[in-house]
C-alpha cells in the first residue's frame, strides 16, 4: 500500500532527525554571541574554505540523484560509479571538516574554550557523524549491490539517497545560520 516500507521508515526517521538537529541548531542560535571569551566565529571562520566544502557536499547530492536514477533504471555499473562518486564527495567533506576542526583547535577554539566552541563542535560534529554514517551506508549499499545481495536495488538506493539529501539540506541550514549569518 502506498509508500514502500523502508522509504516510509526513512521519512519518519528524518522527521525525527529534524527535531534532533532542530534542538542542536536552536541551542547554537540561542547561545550565538553569548560567549564570554574568544575565539569568536569571525576569528576562526574561513568562508572560502567552507564554501568549497559546501559546494562539494551539494555536488555529492547531485551524484546521489544520478545513482538513484541508474539504480532504478537497472544500470548497476553506472549506479555503482555514482555511488562511489557520492562517497568520495562525502569523504572530501569530512576531510575539510577535519582540516577545519584542527585549524580551529590550533587557533584556540576547543569544546571547553567558550559557548561558541561547545555549540559549534557539537552541532557540526553531529552533522559530520551523519555524513560518516552516510558514507558507511553507501559503502555497504555498493558492496551488497555488487555481490547481488540486494533484492530491490532501486528502492534501497532511493532510501539511502533520501538520507543523503537530508544530511545535505541540514548542512545548508547550518552553513547559512552558523557561517553566512556572521557576515551579514
Amino acid at each position: 500500500m502506498g509508500v514502500d516500507n523502508y522509504k516510509l521508515a526513512m521519512w519518519t526517521f528524518l522527521g525525527s532527525e529534524c527535531f534532533f538537529f532542530g534542538s542542536l541548531i536552536g541551542t547554537y542560535m540561542s547561545y550565538r554571541g553569548k560567549s564570554l571569551t574568544g575565539p569568536y566565529p569571525l576569528d576562526v571562520f574561513d568562508p572560502a574554505v567552507t564554501s568549497i566544502s559546501t559546494f562539494d557536499l551539494l555536488a555529492s547530492s547531485l551524484f546521489m540523484v544520478l545513482a538513484v536514477h541508474y539504480a532504478k533504471a537497472g544500470e548497476i555499473n553506472k549506479m555503482l560509479g555514482w555511488v562511489a562518486a557520492t562517497m568520495v564527495g562525502g569523504l572530501i567533506f569530512l576531510g575539510f571538516q577535519y582540516y577545519e576542526f584542527s585549524h580551529f583547535v590550533h587557533e584556540g577554539l576547543t569544546l571547553k574554550s567558550n559557548l561558541f566552541g561547545a555549540t559549534f563542535y557539537v552541532l557540526t560534529g553531529f552533522h559530520g557523524t551523519h555524513v560518516a554514517v552516510g558514507v558507511l551506508l553507501l559503502g555497504s549499499l555498493a558492496w551488497s549491490a555488487k555481490r547481488g545481495h540486494l533484492a530491490n536495488i532501486g528502492e534501497t538506493t532511493e532510501v539511502i539517497g533520501l538520507y543523503w539529501h537530508f544530511v545535505d539540506v541540514v548542512w545548508i541550514v547550518i552553513f547559512t545560520l552558523v557561517y553566512l549569518l556572521e557576515y551579514t
Partner: protein, 629 residues
C-alpha cells in the same frame, strides 16, 4: 450474551505450533511474545516503582520521621518517577501496541519484527542500567571520598525525574548517580524511537485491505499519534542529555552560568520533550477507553471521528505548551501569557473526548465488568486531574501551586487515575484474548474498589496539603504546619492501594492458570483482534480479512453491513524466522552508551566502548544478511 463471531480455523501444520524454552524467548520476533515480555517487565517495574512510592509514603507518614536518610529519599523519588514513567506506563502501553496493533489491523506481524525485538531488549537494558545502582550502592557507599573510586559513592540517580541543571552538573553532583540516569534514559529513548518508526510504518502499510484510516480502531489511531509524539519529542531529550553529558565529561559549559551557559536551556529542551511525553502516557489509555466503553454499552463510539481528531489535536498542541512547567522561572510576562493560553486550549479537545465518552454510554446497555469499571474510573479520575491541570495553566495561580503537593496531586490523578486506570481496563479487556482465559470478575470488583478507594485516599488529600503549602520533594517536615494528619491519611491510602495491586497480581497469575475459558470473542466486541482464536495462533490469522466497516466484527454478527469477509482459498503465510541478532545488537548499543558512565571513572572503559561498537556492527551487519527481513 456474547455471540462470538465464529471463524473456522484450519490450522496449517507448522504454523500454529509455538516453540518453547528460554532460547525461543530470547530469539523471538513474534509481536505477541514481545508484547508479553513488555507487559510482564512493565508490571514488575510498576511494582518496584510502587514499593518506592510506599517507602516515600512511609517516610512522610509522620513529621520529622527518619526512616530513610535525606539523600536516599531524594534517590527514591527520582527513581520512583523515572521508573513509573519510563519503565511502568510506557512499556505497559508498548505491551498493548505490540500485542494488539497487528491484530487490530489484520496483519501477521509488525513491519520490522526484528527491530521490534531489538526495541524490547534495548528497553530492558536501559531499565537495568537505571536500577543496577541499587545493587551497587550498598557496597560502594562507604568508599573513601579521596580514592579514585569516589564517584561510586553515590550511584542511584538522585536529580529528580526532570534532572534540572545546574544541580545535575559535575560541580553539584560529582558522583556517578547522574551518569547512570543519563545513560539509562538515552538507551530507553533509542528503544522507544526504534519502536516508533516500526509502528508508524506498520500502521500505515500493514492494514488489511479495506481498512481505510477512518475505519481504523481508535486504539490504533491513538497509538499512531503516540508514535509520532515519540519520534518527534525524544530527539529533544536526546540532545538535552547529550549536552549534559558533554558538560559532565568534556568540560563544556552548556548549562553552566559562570561561562555564559543557561540552566534554563535544559528546562526548555527537557519540557519540549516532557510535555509531549505526558500525552505519550495518556493517549494509549484514552485509546483503550475508547474501545472498552462502546463494547460494554453495546453501542458505537459517539462521534468517533471527533474523538480521533481531538486526539490528533492534543498531540499537536502538546508541542506548544512546554513552558507551562516554567511559569516560576521568570520567562517574562509575554511568554507566560502565551503559554498559559496554549495550555488552556488543550482543555477543548480533551473535553470533547470526555463528553463523547459519556454520550457513548447514553442509551446503551451498560455491562459493569471490571474492565468497564476501570474505564469509567478513568473518565472520572482523569477529569479530576485535567481540571487541576487547568488551575496550573493560570501562571499567577501556578505561582502558588508549582512544586507543591498540589502538583503531585494533579499528576497522580492523570497518571494513575488516567494512564494506569486505562491500562488496567485494557488488561481486563484483552486478557482473555492474550491468554484464552478470563480474569476473575469477583476479585476484579474487589480490586477495583480497593484501587479506586485507596487511590483517592492517597491523592485527593494532596490537593489540600499542597494548598496548605507543603512543597514536594521534601524528605521531612515539621510539626505544626497542619500537614500531619493528612499525610498519615495519604499513607494509609497508599497501602490500601498497594493491597489492591497485590490482590490484582495474585488474581492475574491465578487466572493465567485456571481462569474460566474464553472464546474468540467473549465480549461481543467490534474490532479484528476478536476474530482469531484466544490466544491467537502464531500467524494471527489464517486468512487476511477484507474490511468494510470501522466495526467489522460487530457488523458481521449484528449488521447492517457485512463487516468483513474472508477470501476464498488458501493463503501463503510467511513468518520471519527467530533471530538472536536483535538481542546482541541491543546489548551492543546499551554497552556503547553506558560506557560513557564508566568513562567518568577511568579511561579503561574505552574497551567497553569498543566492545559495544563491535557488537553493534556485528549484529547489524549479519542482521541484514539474514534471510527474511
Amino acid at each position: 450474551m456474547a455471540t462470538p463471531a465464529a471463524v473456522p480455523h484450519t490450522h496449517e501444520a507448522g504454523h500454529s505450533a509455538s516453540p518453547s524454552g528460554l532460547w525461543s524467548w530470547l530469539t523471538t520476533v513474534d509481536h505477541k511474545r514481545i508484547g508479553i515480555l513488555y507487559g510482564l517487565s512493565a508490571l514488575a517495574f510498576f511494582v518496584l516503582g510502587g514499593v518506592e512510592g510506599l517507602i516515600i509514603r512511609s517516610q512522610l507518614s509522620v513529621p520529622n520521621n527518619d526512616l530513610v536518610s535525606a539523600p536516599f529519599y531524594n534517590a527514591l523519588f527520582t527513581m520512583h518517577g523515572t521508573t513509573m514513567i519510563f519503565l511502568g506506563v510506557m512499556p505497559l502501553s508498548a505491551a498493548f501496541f505490540n500485542y494488539m496493533i497487528p491484530l487490530q489491523i489484520g496483519a501477521r506481524d509488525v513491519v520490522f519484527p526484528r527491530l521490534n525485538a531489538f526495541s524490547y531488549w534495548l528497553f530492558l537494558f536501559g531499565a537495568f542500567v537505571l536500577n543496577v545502582p541499587f545493587l551497587i550502592q550498598p557496597f560502594t557507599a562507604g568508599l573513601d571520598p579521596s580514592s579514585t573510586l569516589a564517584p561510586l559513592i553515590r550511584v542511584i540517580p538522585d536529580g529528580g525525574w526532570f534532572g534540572y541543571a545546574t544541580l545535575t552538573g559535575k560541580e553539584f553532583s560529582p558522583y556517578l548517580s547522574i551518569d547512570f540516569w543519563v545513560a539509562g534514559l538515552q538507551i530507553l529513548g533509542i528503544a522507544s524511537m526504534a519502536a516508533g518508526f516500526n509502528f508508524i510504518v506498520t500502521i500505515f502499510n500493514m492494514r488489511a485491505p479495506g481498512m481505510t484510516m477512518l475505519r481504523m480502531p481508535v486504539f490504533t489511531w491513538m497509538t499512531l499519534v503516540v508514535q509520532f509524539l515519540v519520534v518527534l519529542s525524544f530527539p529533544c531529550i536526546t540532545v538535552a542529555l547529550i549536552l549534559l553529558l558533554m558538560d559532565r565529561l568534556f568540560g563544556t559549559h552548556f548549562y553552566i552560568p559562570s561561562a555564559g551557559g543557561d540552566p534554563l536551556l535544559w528546562q526548555h529542551l527537557f519540557w519540549l520533550f516532557g510535555h509531549p511525553e505526558v500525552y505519550i502516557l495518556i493517549l494509549p489509555a484514552m485509546g483503550i477507553v475508547s474501545e472498552v466503553l462502546p463494547v460494554f454499552s453495546r453501542k458505537p463510539l459517539f462521534g468517533a471521528p471527533f474523538v480521533i481528531f481531538s486526539g490528533i489535536t492534543i498531540g499537536l498542541l502538546g508541542f506548544g505548551v512546554w513552558a507551562h512547567h516554567m511559569f516560576t522561572t521568570g520567562l517574562g510576562a509575554a511568554a507566560d501569557a502565551a503559554f498559559s493560553v496554549t495550555t488552556m486550549l488543550i482543555a477543548i479537545p480533551t473535553g470533547v473526548k470526555i463528553f463523547n465518552w459519556i454520550f457513548t454510554l447514553w442509551g446503551g446497555q451498560i455491562r459493569l465488568t471490571t474492565s468497564m469499571l476501570f474505564a469509567l474510573g478513568f473518565v472520572g479520575m482523569f477529569t479530576m486531574g485535567g481540571l487541576s491541570g487547568i488551575m496550573h495553566s493560570s501562571p499567577p495561580v501556578d505561582l502558588q501551586q508549582q512544586d507543591s503537593y498540589f502538583v503531585v496531586a494533579h499528576f497522580h490523578y492523570v497518571l494513575f487515575g488516567g494512564a494506569i486506570f486505562g491500562l488496567f481496563s485494557g488488561i481486563y479487556y484483552w486478557f482473555p484474548k492474550m491468554s484464552g482465559r478470563f480474569l476473575d470478575e469477583t476479585w476484579g470488583k474487589i480490586i477495583f474498589a480497593l484501587v479506586l478507594g485507596g487511590f483517592n485516599l492517597t491523592f485527593f488529600p494532596m490537593h489540600f496539603v499542597g494548598a496548605w503549602g507543603m512543597p514536594r520533594r521534601i524528605y521531612t517536615y515539621d510539626e505544626g504546619m497542619g500537614w500531619d494528619q493528612v499525610n498519615l491519611l495519604e499513607t494509609i491510602g497508599a497501602f490500601t492501594l498497594a493491597f489492591g495491586v497485590l490482590l490484582f497480581l495474585i488474581s492475574f497469575f491465578r487466572s493465567m492458570r485456571n481462569g474460566a475459558k474464553a472464546g474468540a470473542n467473549p465480549w461481543d466486541a467490534a474490532t479484528l483482534e476478536w476474530i482469531t482464536t484466544s490466544p491467537p495462533a502464531v500467524h494471527n490469522f489464517d486468512k487476511t480479512p477484507m474490511v468494510y466497516s470501522d466495526r467489522p466484527v460487530w457488523e458481521k454478527s449484528h449488521g447492517p453491513g457485512p463487516g468483513y469477509s474472508l477470501p476464498e482459498g488458501e493463503e501463503h503465510i510467511h513468518l520471519p524466522p527467530p533471530s538472536i541478532k536483535p538481542l546482541i545488537g541491543a546489548v551492543g548499543v546499551g554497552m556503547f552508551l553506558t560506557s560513557f558512565v564508566a568513562l567518568n571513572l577511568s579511561i579503561l572503559a574505552l574497551g567497553m566502548t569498543a566492545l559495544g561498537l563491535a557488537l553493534i556492527f556485528y549484529s547489524f551487519y549479519t542482521w541484514f544478511l539474514e534471510p527474511g527481513h
